[in-house]
Symmetry: C2
Subunit: 732 residues, 2 copies
């Protein structure tokens, strides 16, 4: 079998060829010298070694906001990110008199910049250190849950040591599924201020309707500024704080863009699953996604039936319905994409090729044994997947039952030292739990929650005996009549529907919750036993996989290396670089999308009704064709957004898009619908990333809502329309 | 002002320039020599003079099916048209055992060809003669309704004389709005048989979802054969009939197609309004379409409210709801298109230019007076437009009230000689009326009809006094309370909700209906008086416009001629020719549609669920890439549909699309959504026509559902897959 590709493998190899050409990859900066030849072939003109150094420009200019990416664009701590990443800060500073969401924000002077809120952060990565030996030293020889806990303990110790120096946030990150561990240190800037935001009708033009769509016409950008204490160290917001002086900042390009141009992007992508095994790919396509689609659809129908004709209940469940619909839609998109790309066959072919290569390696037997063992662990998880899915939704999709389970769990965890408490139930999590217990009120209707549970419990009753959760059977009965009676008794008998009762139990001694005779609290106490047991099983599996997956990953990396290919680790919220090209898309037969959109599209989409309500100053500037130096010379008009084949996922929002010389040409803000499945497989035919063109940003800031102060600070020399007289200019 | 264009006019002139380049026009064949130079510039290689002769090929091969167009493609009367044009015939021959809609139809021999039904027609135009003087001789000096009736009488006489020869259907058609009249004679072939149809899942792949959409993937073709009596004359279906031998038939092309290639099309387009005056354009955009959108939306809401929770009523109103939605959607599309094209400004500019030119003409004063008088007549109609719209909907959107009004009207008309009865109420119309009276049952629910009327009557009550219809006020009262009481009394008191009662009144002596004391019949008797009065007013206006519009048309034609441009008359179901090119479309910013679709798109759209349920033999043939000579050499695959800039409208379905030498390259079957407004204005940026590629037809007939007999008859030499063994071929 060695070196002989099956039919499917050959097909997959053919499918993969363009992937390699299309510069797939979320590279660790340290890997860039390895792929420099390919980067140069794509058009890169800089120094890959310089790019790999986090302490030097341009990488030192790329920062995390925690969930979003941003970058410094001036020596005075000016930060550019997406409008949607700054949405919370914009909302926080809005008042009935001055709605910044609707009107935008443009600080006239630095003193007018407003706090983005006490939770806002700018995180500057300054250390990234491989500490695999330290993390695994205590785990060697262990297995299962012991292995898991040894890794966790070593990680916590490394973080505590690193965070001993004030002003830093540290974390240990797992690369290649347990193969390598790195310590990441980030300077944690806590005084973040809003400097500029266009109106929402520019920043999120098209909003939910255009979400995931191309062609796109959003001015999804905003400016923050990072402030530190007078001593230059991170500090909470204070009037005397001063702008942070970053080690590097990006230069904003003034050159035009065109299809085929080199582009690269740096940021903090959240999570991908591209190195999962073929059986996991198959399970995702054959069970996870289809069952999610089916189950979310059933829950939506149950909520709709139970709230029909009840306007109050409809309002209270609107957010949950929106979230279920979003989950459903994403799952459908991911399923469609993985099927279209024949992802399972492609992954099987990759594994078959790796297995064939592995046969010839000295340590093949041990690796094969580990891989086989890992697959067996996955099989074990599969045996209870229906149970785990239904059980987790019983708390995730309810308000009262979840509240009771949280109260019982907290009562349990409060009996331990804080450091040993389950993540999510530590002291720092308590305010969040209290907020959730309060909020339950606004999102709850008893008949709807019962309908949700009835739907889940009916499915639970259909499970084979070995998957049934005894505590669920005990609490809710084993036939439909018993379940209906149990639900009715539970919801008519509980006092937990009163906010004060939930807060009383939260404030009380742990024993009070445990001793409560409220039927909901009793039910939760029983179900908590099942939750803990399932958690134990999951941690044991996680430990085993952490121990065994490295054999699989080393096989994949070794095989790739034998073919001259480098392998990037799955995304894990660490700084990554992707490179590629500005590229259009042929989403389906006879349809081609150009890679650059123009302001003409804003006018085409404009209806006057949100989300297509372009502000008058924007429409007037377009009508005047007042573009100047920011216009695209080839298109003869102002561009808005552009499309690349760059490799991105959630967390890349706000990532700076750079040209061949590292100059800022745009901001990443979305992917196309066809790319929803890219968290599992990068298909070069369909994977695109959507960016704001920096020229649009410059144009808005010079001709529509002028911000000459910020333009000058970025070293830009746009001709600025008189900000005092936009109407007069329009009338001319 | 002369020769000086205003800003808007200059804009419009700029807009119009591409129109001229884009070969707009539904030309009378007789006009083709006038536009031969432009045709040659577009790539035409034939003889325009030959093309202008209806008795010579290829024009003599183009036939009407009454509503659809078709063409002869063999010397033995084989006719090709759209699958959707043959849908009735396919349905008629379907049985529970052999559902031809689902399975398609493929007559093994001529004897297996089945009747398309007694109403099916193939109409071969053989005379087209200008008879303006004869038609207008008796009208000269008259005005208003007298003018109208004189034209009508002369037309009826000409038709009667022409139809004296058996086997012909004749009509008098008005060209350029009363300027010219032509007598059209068509051989009326009454034995039409179905020879071949692909399954519905090919013939209308995508159906309602893809309707008006591009990219498209429909095999919208089917074959009829025209039969005549053994004497060669038209005859009703009879076994001894023989295939008709047409004077000409089209050769099917075997050459490839590509963007930019010359294309032309001949057919029987139904109705356009491109020569309407600028005030009529403005009224269409400012009132007709918006008020239609608003009113249809209100009626839909009323029906929905009244039938909510009543499954029976919902089913009974499903067809009316679908029709209202369709009207609403089309009106929205037309409005959107006319606004996008700035049609009113363009038309005003054309009129201003014509008026300036007219000033310098000898007969300017008289022409100006007529044009002014025509505009005054239009103003008069505008004064009662709200009334006319609401009043006509009171019968058009109801079942019982309409039935009663039809019965009263028929009672009135039956008192006249048949020839003098109002069109729609002649002897030949009575079976249709009976069918409608029977059908009312299946489409009626009293609470819904009352809700529809309540909606219309509330609007009627808001009209200014001079527009209020006294009979409506008398029957339904002048305030909401009175209307509610009147509706309740009417619908509880009528016996017309029984089918037998409606049919009894239909069968009875006219006096019985007139004397009926049924409240619905009494209401209808009163409303009929208003209907007759409004009809009188409308006929008087129609007569005046018939008399006065020719001055406007002659002005437009004269001005165009002074600039070297020919003017085609508005579509009126007579044979027309359009020429242009194969051309893609840029429907909006950053989106481009290619002009050719491929079978890959069929696979992409395939879900297995109608209307995207491609049959297995089609999917298998695609998977085999079994294309042979019909594949497109440049695309390397099988094409399906293509797009041209040809000028079409309803009635052009089935029109043969021909290449520069008059060979058949496709069949027209739809327009794109962006072109819905083309009945008023041809905008070359957006107007496209959608065609089946003849190569797809040949491929389906050779490799998927083979019909070697018909291919040979058309002179085609495709390599035919063994029709006995498609599965075996698939397995190889």
């Amino acid at each position: 079998m060695r070196h002989r590709l099956t039919g499917l493998a050959a097909l997959a190899a053919a499918l993969l060829l363009p992937a390699a050409q299309a510069d797939e990859g979320m590279w660790l900066p340290s890997q860039l010298p390895e792929v420099e030849a390919q980067m140069r072939a794509a058009g890169f003109e800089g120094d890959a070694a310089a790019l790999s150094d986090l302490s030097r420009p341009p990488m030192s200019a790329v920062v995390s906001l925690g969930g979003c990416t941003a970058s410094f664009v001036s020596p005075h701590g000016l930060v550019v990110t997406n409008h949607h990443c700054a949405h919370g800060a914009i909302q926080l500073n809005s008042t009935p008199e001055d709605n910044l969401i609707a009107n935008g924000f443009n600080a006239a002077t630095m003193a007018d910049e407003v706090s983005a809120g006490p939770g806002a952060r700018v995180l500057v990565t300054d250390r990234f250190e491989r500490i695999t030996d330290r993390i695994l030293a205590g785990a060697r020889g262990l297995s299962g849950r012991d292995y898991y806990e040894a890794v966790e303990a070593a990680s916590k110790a490394a973080v505590a040591e690193c965070e001993a120096e004030p002003g830093y946030r540290c974390s240990v990150v797992d690369m290649y599924s347990g193969t390598d561990f790195h310590l990441v240190r980030q300077l944690e800037i806590r005084d973040v201020r809003l400097a500029y935001a266009p109106p929402d009708a520019i920043g999120s033009y098209g909003d939910e309707i255009d979400n995931f769509m191309w062609p796109r016409h959003s001015g999804d950008f905003a400016f923050y500024r990072a402030y530190v204490g007078p001593d230059g160290k991170p500090a909470a917001f204070a009037p005397e704080n001063v702008p942070y002086c970053p080690a590097a900042w990006l230069e904003v390009s003034t050159a035009p863009l065109a299809e085929g141009d080199f582009a690269m992007l740096a940021g903090y992508p959240g999570r991908t699953f591209r190195h999962r095994t073929a059986p996991e790919f198959a399970e995702q396509v054959e069970w996870q996604l289809p069952s999610r689609v089916e189950l979310m659809g059933a829950l939506l129908a149950a909520i709709e039936r139970a709230s029909a004709g009840d306007a109050g209940a409809t309002v209270r469940y609107a957010a949950q319905v929106a979230s279920l619909k979003n989950t459903l839609k994403r799952a459908q998109g991911e399923l469609e994409g993985l099927r279209r790309s024949d992802a399972v066959a492609a992954r099987r072919a990759e594994e078959a090729a790796m297995a064939a290569w592995l046969d010839g390696q000295p340590d093949a037997a041990g690796a094969r044994a580990d891989i086989a063992a890992a697959l067996q662990v996955l099989d074990g998880a599969r045996a209870t997947r229906e149970r785990d899915q239904l059980f987790s939704l019983m708390s995730a999709q309810t308000q009262l039952l979840r509240s009771a389970m949280q109260l019982q769990r907290l009562a349990l965890e409060r009996g331990k030292p804080d450091a040993l408490r389950q993540p999510g139930y530590q002291l720092r999590d308590e305010p969040r739990i209290e907020a959730a217990l309060r909020q339950a009120q606004r999102r709850y209707a008893p008949e709807v929650e019962q309908a949700i549970l009835a739907e889940l419990l009916a499915r639970h009753r259909e499970l084979p005996a070995e998957q049934r959760v005894p505590e669920v059977d005990a609490v809710f009965g084993t036939d439909a009549t018993a379940t209906a009676a149990a639900l009715a008794a539970l919801y008519s008998g509980t006092a937990l529907d009163a906010e004060e009762e939930r807060l009383r139990l939260l404030a009380a001694d742990p024993g009070v919750a445990r001793a409560s005779v409220d039927p909901m609290m009793r039910a939760a106490a029983a179900l908590l036993q099942a939750e803990l047991r399932h958690e134990d099983e999951a941690k044991a599996r996680a430990g085993e996989l952490l121990r065994l997956r490295p054999a699989y990953m080393r096989g994949m990396i070794g095989h790739a290396r034998s073919q001259g290919r480098a392998v990037y680790p799955d995304a894990n919220s660490t700084l990554r670089v992707s490179y590629g090209r500005i590229q259009g898309l042929e989403p389906r037969d006879a349809v081609r999308y150009a890679p650059l959109t123009t302001v003409e599209g804003i006018v085409e989409k404009h209806t006057g009704v949100a989300p297509f309500d372009a502000p008058a100053p924007l429409l007037e500037a377009i009508a005047r064709r007042d573009f100047g130096a920011t216009a695209d010379p080839a298109l003869g008009t102002q561009t808005v957004n552009f499309l690349t084949n760059l490799d991105t996922t959630g967390g890349n929002s706000g990532s700076p898009v750079m040209d061949a010389r590292g100059r800022l040409v745009g901001l990443n803000f979305d992917s196309n619908w066809e790319a929803v499945s890219a968290s599992w497989m990068f298909d070069p035919r369909y994977k695109r990333a959507i960016h704001v063109d920096a020229r649009y940003m410059r144009w808005i800031m010079s001709r529509v809502y002028p911000a000459p102060r910020l333009l000058r600070e970025m070293g830009l020399h746009e001709e600025v329309a008189d900000p005092q007289a936009p109407a007069a200019a329009a009338a001319r």
